[in-house]
Amino acid sequence: MNVEEQLKQMTTKLHQHEYVCRGLFERRGALSYIGHLDLKAVFERALRRAELPLLYTQGFNPRPMLEFALPLGVGIDTEGDWVDVAMEVPLDPEEYVRRINEELPEGVRVIRAVSLDEPKKSLMSVVTCAEYRIEAPGITEALLNVFSLEHVETTKKSKGREVRTDIRPLLIKPLTSSTPDSAEYMCYAGSQQNLRPDVLLKAVCETTGYSSEAAAEARITRLALYGGNYPDITSIEGLT
């Protein structure tokens, strides 16, 4: 490889590569207790064990090229997250799913995958909304209270400082599938504007007096991610 080719390789983003496998995955159990970077490493090692035709980043410390749609916080389960992996040669999505699932530790599983041909946009940049479920005693009533307010002020950490912020504009709607102890809702998510479920829970406690002990024990699941502009939302699957 000459210098120019090398430079090109180094600066090429994952989504500009020819063969990208986009997988929908879930995680639960032990694997939910690790952070975003650890989850990335879990995927990297599983991909290596599966001996897939991976593309590597250039530079001093080459790593398999992969990108997640949205970081998952520690302690949060998911039923609908996405991950892109760049391949050297085309790979049948079904074979990809089979081989990586053989190697992933129990608790993470790729549900299905599609192959994309040189996607124009990065996976991260297409995410706009998310659906979550929070399970805790009486949580739905408290959350509906929050939805009925015009402003929901809370503090959040930004660049190491505590700042006041109104999170109400980030909430979209409660879902009809909610039950008294299991609140499901849709909110804005992604790199532009994002409402983390722990920040929401904190605001719920502050504004409705919901018990923070109960909130600390709540089980949180990300149900799905979407692209597009609400209400015209679309699946992430084919968004390139």
Binding site: A30, Y33, V42, R49, P105
Partner: protein
């Protein structure tokens, strides 16, 4: 409950082994008395996990010390310490096996037993309580913890472990009757020390030998694996999901060390040197990478450069690795042309720093400790490295070595300055533009350890260590290219009393634990004043354990036999005083006694 890094308490990793629990199986829980992240980079854990999960009738699970936040939460809610695999409380196991790699983990052993609902003292355990055992290098003098262990493995565990569990199996099949008889039975296994069969005597406040119960051996002989090629190696180790201290796979090249540095306990404990063949290692290295998905393989041994098959092994591994973006980590490499080339090839990362361990600042003192390198060697290697583009050097030294004077301490600073000068001279010579070299001087405190020629030596006091440290700091502080870092003096001072301690320390350690001490190996938790107070309240002084012994005295570890004879250690001690070096095992056998194992390179 919200705790730091919850991932360390849940298991569920790739290659974890979860066996269904059955009534007639011997269940061992491997206990590591520090956090998960440290325990999981421990090779002994991975080896014994595999061995003990081998037979159908044996299973092995894992448990680690909960960090203080988790510890507090568990106590508050009455949650017992449980294993990762089946979430069983420790007291439901037949055997709780501790791995002891360093002395300062002692209070964590008590923490784990306590949280695991196992009576702390061996004497208080009933027939149904787990048999609590320990293994690891610290066990060559386990006296400070002797009251808490039912049995202790001396030496390497791969073979003795299953012999041990087989005896436990019989005990369990027989309905767990008569624990005392079981302990006597266990003491018959070679390499198993049962402390309760040995009662220490004291005269004038000093240890004066043991009363030994009938049937127990006068000394317990270390076990070793004679042929490392024939013993199973964990090529599918458990791969942690969260960030572990060393995020890589490991390959053990050989055990033992040919060098015979007189301060180094490992160098004597692991004799004789036994190598694995390059062929075995290459096969294992390739499978371990495939089975774990790591991108870096660390070669482990006491001195990588002394491995005779290094050329062949690294060539073969690197050939396989290059296409898969995998790299090799080569710690403790002696720097020469071959090594520099190898480092260049082995790792795709930037030129990492070079490390040297001269250990002492003057040639006189290096001869005392039998560190077989001289200044010329160091300078020649460094010149090569500087020419090759390296500019980061880390130098390791020890303070408080026997016969050390302030002149030797000053020698450390001199050496660092000479290296700085060498860097600039070399750059000028080859016409390269010098960068800012980074020379790090790191000092640790010399602690005399059992089974070394220095086992009778006095240890430096805290004041002596501090004086030497500050002297060196003053000498180096004006030099902007040289950074001086040092270890915590108090922790090392205390480690010294455990290293050569006797059974009277058991009560001290227990009281320290009850007063809230855990994670003493972590400087931020260790409280020297508190521990000194407890020690003194038991009528003991720090000096009782550190002022040294005469070579005629009985030593608390006299009932342990590691193969190396006391006569040899005395000879080496005399040679140290005479500033005479001893040749390494490969060039000439020094007759240390380890040849009795009829293994490895011994004649």
């Amino acid at each position: 409950m919200s705790v730091e890094s919850p991932g360390r308490y849940v298991g569920g990793e790739k290659n974890q082994i979860v066996k269904p629990i059955t009534e007639d199986m011997v269940r061992t829980v491997f206990c590591f008395p520090d956090i998960y992240e440290i325990g999981m980079s421990n090779l002994a854990l991975q080896i014994l996990y595999k061995v003990l999960n081998g037979p159908e009738w044996s299973s092995c699970e894992r448990a680690f010390s909960p960090w203080p936040d988790m510890d507090a939460g568990m106590r508050e809610r009455g949650i017992p310490l449980y294993s990762l695999e089946t979430r069983s409380p420790l007291n439901e196991f037949d055997v709780a096996a501790f791995s002891l790699g360093y002395e300062m983990c002692f209070t964590n052993v008590l923490q784990m037993l306590d949280l695991g609902r196992i009576p702390l003292r061996s004497a208080d355990r009933k027939e149904n309580d787990p048999i609590v055992v320990a293994g690891g290098p610290v066990c060559c003098n386990i006296e400070p913890m002797a009251d808490f262990f039912d049995a202790v493995f001396i030496g390497e565990g791969e073979e003795v472990d299953l012999e041990f569990t087989a005896v436990i199996k019989k005990y369990k099949d027989g309905g767990k009757k008569d624990r005392k008889a079981l302990l006597k039975e266990l003491a018959k296994i070679e390499g198993v020390y049962v402390p309760s069969l040995y009662t220490p005597k004291y005269e004038n406040g000093r240890f004066a030998g043991f009363d030994i119960e009938e049937g127990a051996p006068a000394s317990v002989k270390k076990r070793i694996i004679k042929d490392l090629d024939k013993v199973d190696y964990p090529v599918s180790p458990v791969v942690p999901n969260n960030n572990v201290v060393h995020d890589r796979a490991y390959l053990e090249l050989f055990r033992g060390c040919i060098r015979g540095c007189r301060f180094c306990q490992a160098g004597y404990l692991y004799r004789p040197v036994r190598e694995k063949s390059a062929k075995t290692l290459c096969g294992q290295g390739i499978s371990i990478m495939k089975n774990t998905g790591y991108d870096d393989l660390g070669l482990l041994s006491l001195s990588t450069s002394d491995y005779t098959g290094l050329h062949e092994l690294t060539d073969n591994l690197l050939e396989d690795f290059s296409s898969k973006h995998e790299s090799l980590s080569l710690p403790s490499l002696r720097i020469d042309n071959f090594a520099l080339e190898l480092m260049e090839k082995a790792s795709q990362t930037r030129k990492s720093g070079l490390t040297f361990a001269p250990e002492a600042g003057t040639q006189r003192l290096r001869d005392v400790i039998n560190k077989g390198i001289n200044e010329e060697d160091i300078m020649t290697s460094l010149k090569l490295a500087f020419e090759g583009g390296w500019s980061t050097v880390k130098l390791y030294f020890m303070l408080g070595l026997p016969t050390e004077t302030m002149e030797d301490v000053e020698g450390i600073a001199d050496l660092a300055l000479k290296i700085e000068r060498l860097y600039f001279d070399t750059m000028r010579e080859i016409g390269a533009k010098p960068r800012k070299p980074e020379i790090t001087v790191s000092t640790s405190m010399f602690i005399p350890k059992p089974f070394t020629p220095f086992q009778w030596e006095p240890q430096n006091t805290k004041e002596q260590f501090l004086e030497k440290q500050s002297h060196l700091r003053n000498l180096l502080k004006k030099h902007r290219n040289i950074r001086y870092i040092w270890h915590d003096v108090e922790t090392s001072c205390w480690e010294g009393i455990y290293a050569r301690g006797d059974r009277r320390l058991c009560d001290v350690i227990l009281e320290g634990y009850k007063a809230g001490s855990i994670f003493d190996a972590w400087d931020q938790f260790f409280d020297y004043e508190k521990w000194t107070g407890i020690l003194n309240s038991h009528g003991l002084k720090w000096e009782d354990y550190t002022q040294g012994w005469s070579t005629e005295d009985s030593l608390p570890w006299d009932n342990i036999d590691v193969g190396v004879t006391k006569a040899f250690l005395k000879r080496e001690r005399e040679k140290a005083y005479a500033e005479t070096v001893t040749e390494n095992c490969r060039s000439k056998c020094a007759g240390c006694g380890a040849a009795c194992y009829k293994a490895g390179i011994c004649p």
